[in-house]
Every structure is written in structure tokens, then in C-alpha cells.
Amino acid sequence: MKSSSAASLETGGRFERWAERRLRYLMLAPAVLILLALTIFPSLYMFYAAVHRISPNPDLPWQFVGAANFARLLSDGQFQVALRNTAIFTTVAVSVEFLLGLGLALLLDKYIRRLTFLKTVLMVPMMLPPIAVAITWKLIYEPQFGVLNEIMYRLGLPTQAWAGDVDLAMFSIIVADVWQWTPFIFLLMLAGLASLPVEPYEAAELDGASSWRQFWDLTIPFLKPVIAIALLLRVMDALRLFDLVFILTGGGPADRTKVLSLYIYQVAYRFADPGYAAAISLFVLFVTVVLSTWFMKRMRLVE
């Protein structure tokens, strides 16, 4: 009995020892293989699609057109509008979310540290489906019966068409996005503040440093990695904004809120031109990777 169990341990042991030696690769393998399959294949396929003219009729063969789809980008006015709108949205929305999120986290951390449930309450917008958020804001912005215009009216301010107004549409999108995603920055900052060391602040206090100086010389440098990650994730998500514009404005009025994701969607499905959509997609991917790599290197996010 004893010897047979020892023997089975021996045979099992050979595999186990092999697995143990290879553990570093075995543990990494599933994730790497899944991601390889799910990203390398689409990237190659997309590159292949981008150099072809693809007919909406699936029975017709793809026609090789070389760099023509990319050349089209240069003279495509709609693309340039989308690029500009995406740049405006990303810059303004992420800046506002960052300032509000950081400010709120500082306030909460300093004045009401104990009330943890308040943190979760402030996080609720992030948990709602973005599509429901978009529809709710549409209702709030509604020019005739919307609650925002009612409030404006009661305050004696001029009522507006909000999402339907050429000059206010992008502003309206940004407000809704800020409402939903400031909590994300807020949460990351709060977590960062909670892990700050105490000693440097005591030393600074003894030196008579003002709270303003402490903020700039201690808090900001300590928070730098969190700030970097929060900004990186938010910028990556802002560049792919879709749900809000899809529901709230559909890209209008007068293309004022047409962003890159929406334009790619329109090109691929409404104009049935997947080859060109793939070319635009590759451009967006290229810009995102270049920006993020530069940013991560600068912030030393990878060792």
C-alpha cells in the first residue's frame, strides 16, 4: 500500500516536477495565448481589410487598392471634423474630470474621512449603464419639458436647446461624460490619498510649510503614479467615446459632436465601406498607441 502510493507519487512527480520547472511559462501562457488570438488576429485582419475596397455585397471579391484608403484620410473633411471633435472632447472632458475628481477627493479625505458610504454614493454614476445615462441626460436636456430648462427658467436664465444647439451640443456631451466619469478619477485619487505616508507631512508641519506648499511638494509628487494611470485610462476611454453621442446627438447638429468612433461606425455600417473604416480604425489605434507609449515612458509606468 505504502509502496504503491509512493510509486504513484513518483510517476505523478515527474509531471509535477516538469510543471513546477515550467510554472513561470505555464502561468503566463493562457493570458498571452488568449490575447494573442484576440488582438494579433484582428490587427492583421484589419490591416488586410484596410488595403482593400470591400463591396457591401459579400459575394464580390475584395479589390486590392494599396494605400488608397489611407490617402483618402488626407482629403476627407468629415474625418478631419471627427478628429477635431474627438480632440476637443478628450482634452476638455478629461481635464474637468481630473480637476473635479482630485478636488473632491482632497476635500473628502481632509474633512469627512469616516463616512465611507459617501464614497460609494458618489460612485453611483459610474455604475449606471452608459446607455441609460445617455437617455436620462437626453430627457434632462429636452428643450420643451426637460428639467434643466425648468431650472434655468426658475433662476431667470435663458432656456436653451442644449444637445440640439450647434454651439452647446459638445458642451452638453461633456457635462454628461463628466457626470459619469468624474467618480472614476475621484475613486483613484481617494485610494492614492489613503496610502500617503504620514511622516513627511509631520516634518513639513514642523518646518512651518503652508498647506499649499505641502500640497505641491508632497501630495502631488506622491500621487504622480495614480494621476498618470487615471489620466491614461480616461484618455484611452475618451478617445473611444460612442454611447453618449450615439444616443444624445447622433453626431449632430451640423456634425458638431461627430467623434471618431461614431464616424467609423457610420462609414462601416451606414456607408457600407468596411475597408475605409478599417483604415480610419488603424489610424486611431496608431495615435492611441503612440500617445500612450510616450505617456507611459514619460511617467515611468513600465519599469
Binding site: 481589410a49 473632491l104 474633512y111 452608459p130 485610494a191 496610502s195 503614479p225 467609423i264 489605434l285 513600465v302
Partner: protein
């Protein structure tokens, strides 16, 4: 003199405190008002949703829209689909992401592999969904997988797995390696040390990672819009969007479904909130 100075600074402190409370109160009102508005509208008759001036509190509260959404229309089916897809994706992403994260945090590899693989995994998260939609659509079409929950799980895994790996990697890096070494000295295998020692210690990180994967998959809209067309496979966000038709928008029904959609996640968040903040402070922060 000193006394006066002290009282003055104390009253200034009180003033600052009041201003801080005021600001937080404003933030709370602004945060909660749209949520309240969804809830309030979900209990109003259609005609009252469009009342001028708006009804701040439903005058004739009704459950009509809940009945419509969950009895007459298949929102429960959509919710079930969302649930299955979100749980499936989260399980895959968290299991494999945790293993990969542990490997990248603990093992050494030849020729700077660790650095390159970490960076590559991170970079796969950069691909915006709209970019991978066309190849994924063609891919699922080729394998006859359009309109399946499996297709959604596969697609969502592509953007949750890098996130999970990244979070868990930084999490394990923060755990002291000595505990695992002690377990190995006591006769445990390397794998056993991971399973019995490191994993239980990383539970808060697992909770934080899991809830983010859940939120992302439960709410995802764009990929689901393209990959699924049948009621049997569509998720909650698609069901909600489907009630915005060319002719009418069913505001009440959408409000009822939208409000109910966030309830499970908010409850879950309250349950794990302690882990959530701690998990993030140890995980994402130290990249």
C-alpha cells in the same frame, strides 16, 4: 494675544470646514439628481413624464413601466444575458489575469521578457473597441458565432484580461515574498504557495478587479450592438437602446430598466466597498 490668534484661526478653520461640507453637499446633489430623475420617471405615467412644469415627485405613482419592461417586454431575458456574459467574462479575465499577474510579479524570465510581455499586455488594452469590431464581426461570422453569448464573452475578455493582469500584477508585487518562501521551505510546491498563501492575501485585489470587470461587461454597448441581433443573445444596454425607436422613445420603460440595471451593481459595490478602495490603493496605484 496668543488667545485671540488661536480663536481667529479656529473660526477660520470652522469656516473652511463649512465651505467643504457645502461643496460636498453640492457634489452629492449633482451626482444623485440624475439618478433620482431616472427613478422618479420610472414611476410616472407617460403623460406625467412630459408635464410642464416637470413633476419633481411623481403625483400618481405607477408600476406600469416595470410591468411593461419586465413582464410584457423581455428585459429579464436581457438582464440574464448580461449577467451570464458579465460573469463569464469576469471569471475568465480574473482567473487567467491573476495567474499571469502573479507570474509577471514573481518570476524572472530570460532576456527582459518580463518587461516586454508586461508592456505588450498593457498595450492590448489600448485598442478601442470600435477598432476591433470589424475583424471580430467577420471572425464571429466565419465561425457562425454571431448572436451567441460565447462571442460576447470572447470579445469582452479581450479588454478585461489586460486590465485584470495589470491590476493583479501590481497587487502581488505589494505582497511580501517571504510568506511564500516560508511555505515552500515547509514543503509546499511553488504552485501550492501561490494557491494557499499568495491568493488568499490578494483577496481585496481580486474583489476590486472583479467589480471593474463586471461593471465594464454588464454595461458594454458598442460590441454587443454589432455582434448580437436576436433577443436570445442581446444584453441589457441593447434592450434599453431598442426602446429608442424611430417614432417614439419609451422613456418610462427605459427609466425602469435603466434604474433596475444599476441596482445589482450598486448593491455589490456597497458589499465590497471596503475592498474596493483598499484594492485600488494597493493595485492600480503602483502600476
Amino acid at each position: 494675544m496668543a488667545m485671540i490668534f488661536k480663536t481667529r484661526s479656529r473660526s477660520r478653520e470652522t469656516l473652511l470646514r463649512l465651505a467643504a461640507y457645502g461643496t460636498i453637499l453640492v457634489a452629492l446633489v449633482l451626482t444623485l439628481f440624475p439618478v433620482y430623475w431616472i427613478a422618479a420617471n420610472s414611476f410616472k405615467f407617460d403623460i406625467d413624464i412630459f408635464a410642464v412644469p416637470p413633476e419633481w415627485v411623481p403625483r400618481n405613482p405607477t408600476l406600469k413601466h416595470y410591468d411593461q419592461a419586465f413582464i410584457e417586454r423581455p428585459f429579464l431575458r436581457y438582464a440574464l444575458n448580461s449577467f451570464l456574459v458579465a460573469v463569464g467574462t469576469t471569471a475568465i479575465a480574473v482567473i487567467f489575469g491573476t495567474m499571469a499577474g502573479y507570474a509577471l510579479a514573481r518570476f524572472t524570465y530570460p532576456r527582459q521578457w518580463r518587461k516586454h510581455v508586461s508592456f505588450w499586455i498593457l498595450s492590448t488594452r489600448m485598442m478601442p473597441p470600435i477598432v476591433s469590431i470589424i475583424p471580430l464581426y467577420l471572425f464571429f461570422n466565419y465561425f457562425d458565432m454571431l448572436n451567441t453569448k460565447a462571442a460576447l464573452i470572447i470579445a469582452y475578455t479581450a479588454f478585461n484580461l489586460p486590465f485584470a493582469t495589470w491590476m493583479m500584477k501590481s497587487y502581488f508585487q505589494d505582497l511580501p515574498v517571504e510568506l511564500e518562501e516560508a511555505a515552500i521551505v515547509d514543503g509546499d510546491t511553488r504552485w501550492g504557495a501561490f494557491l494557499h498563501v499568495a491568493l488568499p492575501l490578494a483577496r481585496p485585489g481580486l474583489a476590486a478587479t472583479a467589480i471593474f470587470c463586471l461593471i465594464i461587461s454588464w454595461n458594454e454597448f458598442l460590441l454587443a450592438l454589432v455582434i448580437t441581433l436576436t433577443e436570445q443573445s442581446q444584453t441589457l444596454p441593447i434592450g434599453i437602446a431598442g426602446r429608442v425607436t424611430q417614432y417614439t422613445t419609451y422613456w418610462g420603460e427605459i427609466s425602469a430598466a435603466g434604474f433596475m440595471a444599476c441596482v445589482p451593481i450598486v448593491i455589490f459595490a456597497f458589499i465590497v466597498q471596503k475592498h474596493l478602495v483598499r484594492g485600488l490603493s494597493l493595485g492600480a496605484v503602483k502600476g
